[in-house]
Point group: C2
Chain length 189, copies 2
DNA sequence: GGTCGAAGCTAATAGGCTTAGCTTAATGGC
DNA sequence: GCCATTAAGCTAAGCCTATTAGCTTCGACC
C-alpha cells in the first residue's frame, strides 16, 4: 500500500476545501481523514489536534483575505477604495463560507505568520482611512467600525438573518455609502 | 426518590444560565442534566434534542433582547435613542455572552412566538429610524446597517478581535457617532 | 543493501447525542 | 382513601467524534 504523502500543508489545504463545502462547524477530523484517504489517527502525524487544525486554517484564511483586500485597494483611493475593499471582503466571505469564520479567530500571539497576516489585512483598511484624513487613535476607531460593519453584515447574511425580500446587494451598497459619509465627517466631531 | 419537577420552561431557563457561564458552544445536554440533577436522557422528556434546545434558547434570548431594546428606546428620539439602544444592545451581549449568540439564529418560520420576538426587536430599530425620516425600503437598508454594525462590533469584541490597547468603549462611542452621521445624511443621496 | 525516522495503521478510552424500553411517582376519579 | 393512568425519570446500548498508545512498514539516505 503506497502512502498518501500528506504534509501539514496539504492537510490544512484540504481542510479549507472541506470547510467551504460542509461549513466551518462541520469540519471534522473524521471527514477530513476520509477525504484524504487515511485513517483518522494518522492526521495526528501532521496536526496536533482539532484545535490546532482550526488555528492553522485561521492563518491560511487570514493570509488569503489579506491578499484579497490588498489587491482590491491597489490603485484606488477614497470612496472608490472603500467600496472596492468592502466588496472584495464580502466576496471572499461568499466564495469561502467555511474559511471566512476562521479569519475571525484572534491571532495567536506566538505565531508570527498569523500576526503578520492579520496586520496585513488591517493595513489595507488603515490605508483607505488615510485617504479620508483619518489617522492615529481615530484610525483605530474607524478601522474597528469598518470591520464591525462589514463583518456584521456578512455574518448576518450567512446566518439567514435578513428575512425580508428587499435586495441584499442593494442594502450592502447603501451601507457602504453610509460608511463613506461617516468617514468624511470623522474629523469634524 | 422525589422527582426533579422539570418542565420545558425550567429546562430552557437553566440552559440559558449555563450558556452564559460556559459559553454558547459549550452548552451541552450532559452539563445541563448534571446541573438539573437528572440523568441525561431524561431531558428528552422536555426537549426534542440538542438542536431543539438551541432553538428554544433562541426564542428566549430574542424575546429578552427585544424587551431590552424596546425599553431603551422608550421616551427617547433621534441620536439620543440611537445611542441608548445601541448601548443597551451591547450591554445585553456583555451580560449574557452565552444567550447573545442565540439571538442571531434565524427565526423559525413555524414558530409564531419566535417571529413575534424578532419582529419586536427589529421594531425598536425601525422606530428610531423614523426619527431620522428614514422609511420604507430605505428603512430596511438602514436597519440592516444598524444590526450589522452593532452585531459586528460585539462579536468581534467577544472574539478578542480588538487587539490594540485603544479603549474599546470609546471606539464604540465613535462608531455610534458615525452611524448617527450616516443616518442624518441617509435621505440626501 | 541495511538502517532509521516518520507515515501510516489498529485498538482502546473518553465524552457527546440519541433511541428503546422499563420503573415508579404523582395525580385525578371513584 | 384506593386504584388507574400518565408522564417523569432511569438504565442500557449504539453511534459519532477526538485523542492516546503502541505497532508496522515505507522509503530515503549512507
Amino acid at each position: 500500500m503506497p502512502r498518501a504523502g500528506l504534509t501539514p500543508v496539504t492537510v490544512v489545504r484540504e481542510a479549507a476545501v472541506l470547510a467551504d463545502e460542509v461549513g466551518h462547524d462541520r469540519l471534522t477530523l473524521a471527514a477530513l481523514a476520509g477525504r484524504l484517504g487515511v485513517a483518522l489517527p494518522s492526521l495526528y502525524k501532521h496536526v496536533r489536534g482539532v484545535d490546532a487544525l482550526h488555528q492553522k486554517l485561521a492563518v491560511l484564511a487570514t493570509a488569503e483575505i489579506a491578499d484579497v483586500l490588498t489587491s482590491a485597494a491597489a490603485g484606488r483611493a477614497g470612496g472608490d477604495a472603500l467600496r472596492a475593499v468592502a466588496v472584495a471582503y464580502r466576496g471572499y466571505a461568499h466564495r469561502h463560507p467555511g474559511r471566512y469564520p476562521a479569519t475571525q479567530r484572534a491571532p495567536d500571539p506566538t505565531d508570527p505568520e498569523h500576526l503578520a497576516a492579520a496586520e496585513r489585512a488591517v493595513g489595507a483598511i488603515v490605508a483607505i482611512l488615510r485617504g479620508y484624513g483619518v489617522q492615529g487613535d481615530a484610525a483605530v476607531d474607524a478601522t474597528r467600525m469598518f470591520r464591525a460593519t462589514v463583518h456584521g453584515f456578512v455574518t448576518l447574511e450567512a446566518a439567514g438573518g435578513f428575512g425580508l425580500p428587499r435586495d441584499v446587494d442593494r442594502s450592502f451598497d447603501r451601507m457602504i455609502d453610509g460608511l463613506d459619509v461617516a468617514y468624511r465627517g470623522w474629523g469634524s466631531r
